[in-house]
């Protein structure tokens, strides 16, 4: 590492002659696209889609595509928050439990308050838990893995206690309108997912806050020395993550009209997997919201495809785990080759 850092073994740079340096901007568009991780993962997603459409005639039907999009909503929303967290070099293991607890808060609040207030309370609950984790991690320097592992246990336990160990059911049926209302034939929850991804992408790409999150994950000390508000933007991703876990569970509760204290179990694994498949580095600084979206689609397609093919649910875990590892392995090999070419 020091060879490129301080030692300097790039004579092209030292020479300072314009023609000698191989700037990426000088490479043809095709190789630049292949060089981009998102494009490679998009190709992988397409390959999976094509394979599944041959394996199951039902896969490419309109009904199944809507089904796929519908299944993407929960993990997709959680993965946005997870992307923020992972970009800073952190991790949030608590999202599944936070979703469970927020769902219970939503269910109980619906008994007392109008729907918008109840949703706000649930999202507020998720955000507060995120704030708690974020402050412990960013202000007190505790390891994100450990803090969110602890919060994961606490939130799940609180979900059981608050709910009295049973699902909260009999929720007002108007709640389901946030899922089943359609605009131009597209369900509201899918539209919401799309709009949220667009906003998150714009935020991470074009705002001071978004770039600060990248800078923190890449080199927090340099970001701090350049005057960026590193503490605030180290905490914010956990707040976003907690809030999105609550938003996600709101949609799933609206579909079921029931809040289960066990809801969201293992959601963190799907979300982390989607973010990592989307090309984010667990060390922070590298990754994108577009990549995460592709990662979510890959995850959901595989799960959906395995169901269509009648693979036993017990084998699905092995299949998904294997595909994640394979995807990352191929990615590592390919990216080593392309960066060597560059």
């Amino acid at each position: 590492m020091n060879a490129t850092g301080a030692g300097g073994n790039a004579p092209a740079g030292a020479g300072a002659s314009p023609g000698a340096s191989k700037a990426p901007s000088g490479r043809p568009l095709g190789s630049r696209l292949i060089g981009s991780l998102e494009v490679r993962m998009l190709l992988l997603a397409l390959a999976i889609a094509v394979t599944l459409s041959f394996a199951s005639p039902y896969f490419l039907t309109k009904a199944n595509i809507f089904n796929l999009l519908d299944q993407s909503v929960v993990v997709g929303l959680v993965a946005i928050g997870m992307t923020f967290v992972i970009l800073t070099g952190g991790i949030d293991l608590s999202v599944g439990s936070v979703a469970g607890l927020s769902g219970i808060v939503l269910g109980l609040a619906l008994k007392e308050f109008p729907i918008p207030v109840a949703i706000a309370m649930a999202v507020g609950c998720g955000a507060l838990i995120g704030l708690f984790s974020g402050i412990l991690i960013a202000r007190f320097g505790l390891a994100a893995f450990v803090v969110t592992l602890g919060v994961m246990a606490i939130a799940r336990s609180l979900a059981y206690i608050v709910s009295g160990q049973t699902a909260v059911s009999g929720l007002p049926s108007e709640l389901s309108s946030i899922v089943f209302t359609t605009f131009a034939g597209i369900p509201a929850n899918v539209l919401f997912l799309g709009a949220t991804y667009l906003l998150a992408w714009a935020y991470l790409t074009y705002t001071k806050g978004g770039r600060t999150i990248y800078a923190i994950g890449s080199n927090a000390e340099a970001a701090r020395a350049a005057g960026l508000p590193t503490l605030f933007y180290s905490v914010l991703p956990y707040v976003v993550s907690g809030a999105f876990a609550a938003v996600a569970i709101t949609f799933s509760t609206a579909q079921l009209l029931s809040a289960d204290p066990l809801a969201g179990n293992l959601l963190e694994l799907d979300a982390i997997a989607a973010v990592v498949i989307g090309g984010a580095s667990l060390y922070g600084g590298r990754g994108s919201i577009v990549g995460t979206l592709i990662g979510v689609l890959i995850m959901v397609m595989i799960r959906n495809g395995l169901n269509l093919l009648g693979v036993s649910p017990f084998w699905q875990g092995s299949a998904i785990g294997g595909i994640i590892i394979l995807a990352l392995l191929v990615e590592r090999l390919v990216s080593a080759r392309t960066s060597a070419r560059a």
């Binding site: 850092g5 301080a6 073994n9 740079g13 300072a16 700037a23 005057g227």
Partner: protein, 637 residues
């Protein structure tokens, strides 16, 4: 004599980049061979090929006339080749002993720690550090110089016959460099072959027997005797063209000390390293903060900039009291800061060159948007002025640039904010000589626009060349504030020495002043001027008219004649007696001080009212000779 190692036409490529394109090197036992080149010339790569870190892509390396191709450092070590790396390869959590024998911990079978300890003690004795480097100390807690000694010990423990020193002096203070050179000299005496990688010419001339110069991956000066070269020839070989004066000439008109300072700090304290630092910078002035690594200079800059908590001190910027709690406050007030370590404190590797360049702009911005477009024209002008390639502005990583270009981009990051005060910590560390020259010129140009500049540098030659005035920091306190014209490297080294290592001398001054009812001082004289290292006044009537950390002309002191006569003779033969001033009020005795190695350490003087007695003069001379500056020896170790 048969060469120990011969490398011919070595090439090495990383991906598509050619780091070595035909490097030759010939090494002989009992010689120190300097491997010289600008940054990015391939010095480090060639050393790593020789020591087994990298495998050559082409060419031939022959060791004792047998072709070798090391696949690992282990293989190189078994063949008797060790390397002391720029960034140390030690395990910070292990002890000194464990680190020295780290390669052996990998061998199967039981280790006898008692035998290893005895061997380690022998090695440390060979390096003269058996007393100062405890074997059980945790390596992570050692100073940079001590860690380097552990690396050398590690190479020796592997019975290395050929040791590569990859830029070993970068983080060492002058006295530590001297000690390192002593060790290298001893290793040469023991018939080992040494490679000394550097881009500092003075050091190459000081220590090496032969030189190989690399430029852009190829050998351009093959196996030349150092003695047959001069500085100009070497620079021409390194950069491929002539360089003018390295340091930009200071302004013709010295910055007017009467103008209000841009920035002033008094009594700055920031635990644990910064205790009491004060200085002022005037518009258009480059102020150097001199001192040893660890004296608290970097920490002082960080404390000023709001990166570190302060426990005390007042600051004024443009006449207004300021107190920055966070960097952004300092930035918005017009202060810029270039921290020391490019890789850890400046470069954000995952952001593009453009975003890195605009990082401080983003940090200072109040609006949520980025506003990159508004800086377009200014960026173009800056890249033009700094000779940076504008077509690489959107490169995805800064790490593909040479160290010098990286540093220029970082400086440009702060110039974009148009600061009134610019603080720079080691601005030319790991930067080739061509870029260094460019950076000095840039600093001079910014200063000429009325900006106040503070530069921290451990390279005393650079500090003297670049600054108008130097504030010396030792043990966290500013102890001298002198125009750089009054100083040279030797005086700066003595001024910068840790106060603790001078305790014996300052105690002696105090004792002499009290015993003889006058004043005592320790000065470095230079023709008719002096720099005072320490002074103690017991009787105000005998005040010599200058104090510690001050420079003065003899004529401006109260003991002009005493100093003139006392220092006039380099051998100090006039030290037999007091020299009275013409008006008879004061008499001065000046005694030369040398350390054990016969190094001139200046003069100690005593001023008494009246004429002074010969008997007292003899006692004082004895006391000074008895001092014999053993503490300054310790400082040199």
């Amino acid at each position: 004599m048969e060469p120990l190692l011969v490398a011919r036409g070595v090439t090495k490529s990383f991906g598509g980049t050619l780091a070595l394109s035909g490097a030759d090197l010939t090494l002989r036992s009992g010689e120190i061979h300097a491997l010289l080149g600008a940054n990015g010339a391939g010095k480090s790569t060639l050393s790593k090929v020789i020591s087994g870190h990298h495998r050559a892509s082409g060419g031939e390396v022959r060791l004792r006339d047998r072709a070798v191709d090391f696949r690992s450092t282990r293989e190189a070590m078994n063949a008797g080749i060790g390397i002391v790396m720029q960034e140390t390869s030690l395990a910070p959590d292990l002890s000194v002993l464990e680190n020295i024998f780290l390669p052996e911990l990998g061998t199967p079978g039981r280790l006898s720690f008692r035998r290893l300890r005895a061997r380690a003690e022998r090695i440390l004795e060979e390096l003269w550090v058996a007393e100062t480097l405890p074997l059980d100390a945790e390596v992570g807690r050692l100073s940079a110089a001590q860690r380097q000694l552990v690396e050398i010990a590690k190479a020796l423990a592997g019975d290395a016959e050929l040791i590569v020193f990859d830029e070993p002096t970068t983080s060492l203070s002058p006295s530590e460099v001297e000690h390192l050179f002593d060790i290298m000299g001893a290793l040469r005496e023991s018939n080992r072959a040494l490679v000394f990688v550097s881009h500092r010419l003075e050091e190459v001339f000081a220590i090496s027997d032969r030189v190989t110069v690399l430029r852009e991956g190829a050998t351009v000066g093959d196996d030349v005797e150092t003695a047959s070269l001069d500085q100009g020839t070497l620079i021409r070989m390194m950069v491929g063209r002539d360089l003018g004066e390295i340091y930009a000439a200071p302004q013709a008109r010295a910055p007017n000390a009467d103008t209000a300072p841009v920035f002033e700090v008094a009594g700055l304290a920031s635990a644990p390293l910064v205790r009491d630092i004060s200085f002022a910078v005037h518009p258009g002035e480059i102020l150097g903060l001199g001192g040893l690594v660890g004296a608290g200079r970097s920490e002082a800059l960080e404390a000023i900039f709001g990166l570190r908590d302060r426990q005390g001190g007042t600051m004024t910027l443009n006449g207004r009291a300021v107190s920055f709690r966070r960097p952004v406050e300092a930035m918005r007030a017009g202060v810029g800061f270039v921290p020391e370590d490019r890789r850890t404190q400046n470069i954000v590797p995952d952001l593009s060159v453009r975003e890195n360049l605009l990082l401080a702009h983003t940090g200072a911005r109040r609006l949520p948007g980025l506003g990159y477009r508004s800086r377009r024209a200014r960026i173009e002008a800056l890249f033009e002025a700094l000779d940076l390639p504008i077509h690489r502005l959107d490169d995805p990583s800064m790490l593909d640039f040479s160290g010098g270009q990286q540093q220029k981009i970082i400086i440009a990051r702060w110039l974009l904010l148009e600061p009134r005060l610019l603080l720079l910590d080691e601005p030319t560390k790991g930067v080739d000589i061509g870029t260094r020259q460019a950076i000095y010129r840039i600093l001079r140009d910014i200063a000429a626009e009325g900006v106040g500049i503070v530069v921290v540098s451990s390279d005393f030659e650079e500090l003297l060349g670049v600054s108008d005035r130097i504030v010396v920091v030792s043990d966290g306190s500013s102890i001298a504030d002198l125009p750089s014209g009054a100083l040279d490297e030797e005086k700066l080294t003595l001024l910068a020495a840790p106060r603790t290592s001078m305790a014996r001398t300052t105690n002696l001054l105090e004792r002499l002043a009290h015993e003889h009812g006058g004043a005592a001082f320790w000065i470095l004289p230079d023709a008719a001027r002096l720099v005072c290292l320490g002074a103690f006044v017991a009787d105000p009537a005998a005040d010599p008219g200058f104090g510690a950390g001050e420079a003065a002309a003899f004529a401006d002191t109260r003991v002009a004649v005493g100093l003139g006569t006392g220092c006039g003779d380099a051998n100090g033969t006039t030290a037999d007696g007091f020299v009275p001033e013409p008006d008879g009020s004061l008499a001065t005795l000046v005694v030369p001080v040398t350390n054990r190695r016969g190094h001139d350490m200046g003069r100690i003087g005593v001023v008494v009212p009246g004429a002074g007695e010969p008997e007292a003069a003899r006692r004082i001379a004895d006391a000074v000779h008895a001092l014999h500056a053993p503490d300054t020896d310790k400082e040199a170790a």
